[in-house]
């Protein structure tokens, strides 16, 4: 790497920095300011600074608290199962078998599927009248009557969580598989010499070797899943009776109804909560960048 003093690197990064400033940092400041205003585009004449009023309203808003709680469930179960299944898939794809390359590529497709399509596909699978899930469960004798999965408050949330699990498995598999492939074979051989069985090898060699990748992938996924709007929005729009309304969906709904002040206030809180998760990630990238 060159150390001589030149303006080249600064010139080269300028365009990227400019775009990011305009589209990320200006809006963040803007959102911060809006959160202290009565910024409702349906009443443009009443836009004014109102101090902490939005925040006070938020603390008193039962929908905010239930959305926050639902976000926790959405992230814990969503990312948790993505990790378990994604890790399993990575371990399986790390073994040698005929056609492995094709299977690897094909199993990644959910990752490139747009959120709208995910919503659409799963809505059709869950359909209460002609849905295939009802049919399968009835054929297997598990169900006696058809269930309208997405229009019952009791089943809607687990159903959208299954959709996000489905979407996230490939990314975990991809990252963990790459990490598994660079675990030195000697470590396994040494563990075998010490008489370790498969399970012991897994916990004493595999897990410690790919610990970093596990952490980074988990952090990234937590942030993405917490922020995701499109899957839920396209399956239930947050309903029925708010039973699938996570915080980001609530913010989106408030924003679509043009109450930007209140929506920004909640968005700031969501960002701060996620910053708690992101800080360790940034610290580790900071270290590896040096």
């Amino acid at each position: 790497m060159e150390k001589n003093k030149t303006v080249w690197p600064y010139l080269l990064v300028t365009p990227a920095v400019l775009v990011i400033l305009l589209v990320v940092f200006v809006p963040v400041v803007h959102a911060f300011l809006m959160s202290f205003q009565s910024y409702d585009l349906r009443r443009p004449k009443e836009i004014a600074f109102i101090g902490l009023q939005n925040y006070g309203e938020m603390i008193a808003d039962p929908l905010f608290w239930s959305a926050l709680l639902r976000t926790v469930a959405w992230v814990v179960f969503g990312v948790g199962f993505q990790f378990i299944f994604g890790f399993s898939l990575a371990l399986l794809l790390n073994k040698y078998f005929f056609g492995r390359g094709v299977i690897r590529a094909v199993s990644m497709v959910p990752w490139v599927t747009p959120g709208v399509l995910i919503g659409l596909m799963w809505r059709w699978i869950y359909d209460g009248n002609f849905g295939v899930l009802n049919d399968v469960l009835m054929r297997l004798g598990i169900l006696k009557d058809k269930i309208p999965f997405l229009s019952q408050t009791t089943t809607a949330l687990p159903c959208v969580i299954v959709a996000i699990i489905w979407q996230g498995i490939p990314f975990f598999a991809l990252m963990l598989l790459a990490a598994l492939q660079v675990v030195p074979e000697e470590l396994y051989e040494a563990a075998e010499m010490d008489g370790a069985n498969h399970i012991q090898k897994f916990f004493s060699v595999t897990i410690p070797s790919i610990k970093n990748t596990i952490c980074i992938t988990l952090l990234l996924r937590v942030i993405w899943v917490a922020n995701s709007v499109d899957v839920i929005f396209n399956m239930t729009e947050g309903g029925p009776a708010y039973s699938t309304q996570t915080l980001s969906v609530y913010i989106y709904n408030k924003g679509s109804s043009l109450n930007l002040g209140y929506a920004s206030c909640m968005a700031i809180v969501l960002a701060l909560l996620l910053a708690l998760v992101a800080v360790p990630y940034l610290k580790s990238t900071f270290r590896s960048a040096s």
Binding site: P9, V23, A105, V116, A178
Partner: protein, 276 residues
Amino acid sequence: MIHAHEHRFFTLFLPLLLLLVFLLFPFYWTFVTSVKPEAELAGPVTYWPKRITFEAYSKLFTTTVNFFSAMKNSFIVALSTSVVTLFVATLASYAFSRFKFAGRKFLMCLFLSNNMFPTVLLLLPLYAIMRKMGLLYTHTSLILSYTTFTIPFSVWLLNGFFNDLPMSMEEAAMIDGCNRAQAFIKIILPILTPCIVATGVYIFMNSWNEYTFAMLFTNNATRTIPVALKNLIGQLGVEWDLLTAGGIVTIVPVCIMFFFAQKRLVAGLTAGAVKG
């Protein structure tokens, strides 16, 4: 020997099969639905169509739905985003990879932290800003937004590719009388073209698939495919043959591109995480 086969069945093939069925069944089901005659959808569930028909696909492009213009919009937005992002990100990652300069670490973190902000946090003020700038309902508003969101990962990917390329190649060219720009264009760019294309595919896929911003930033004339698909759901409600056909049309271009680029894309994407 038989024992070993059985062992492999339970530890490899069976769990793999179950996972693949879970991951791929929705696609199978979407496709099968899209080629079923309309009448068959409202009856008892069939797992393979009694008669295959592509009526839904022709309806998609000929009736009021006007999927074609949405496809055109998506192509314009995704392609422009890819070009702009690639240009900007290639310059930036070349700087990160080849120079050591004050503020390098800070800037790299700035780029990565970009992905941490909730989209909804940016969405609302951007809506207000685009409105003021008169960009609302134009392709530019989407291209500008998508460029920003794809820069961080693109820089990450390209940075990895650049780092794998020995400096000695450019140095040799520069000794031979090339300046830095010539060395970059004549030596680096040709070698890295496949990697840049793979990164472009990543950017294209993201822009093609994005819904949340597109929903707010487009109108009837400029809406992209995901928005059109969502509107179909609103308009048609239960016409699942049309909806699923729309879904298949949406994902086919992305899938084709992904399969061509996936090896390099995966290698680039995971390199940083594994080393880090």
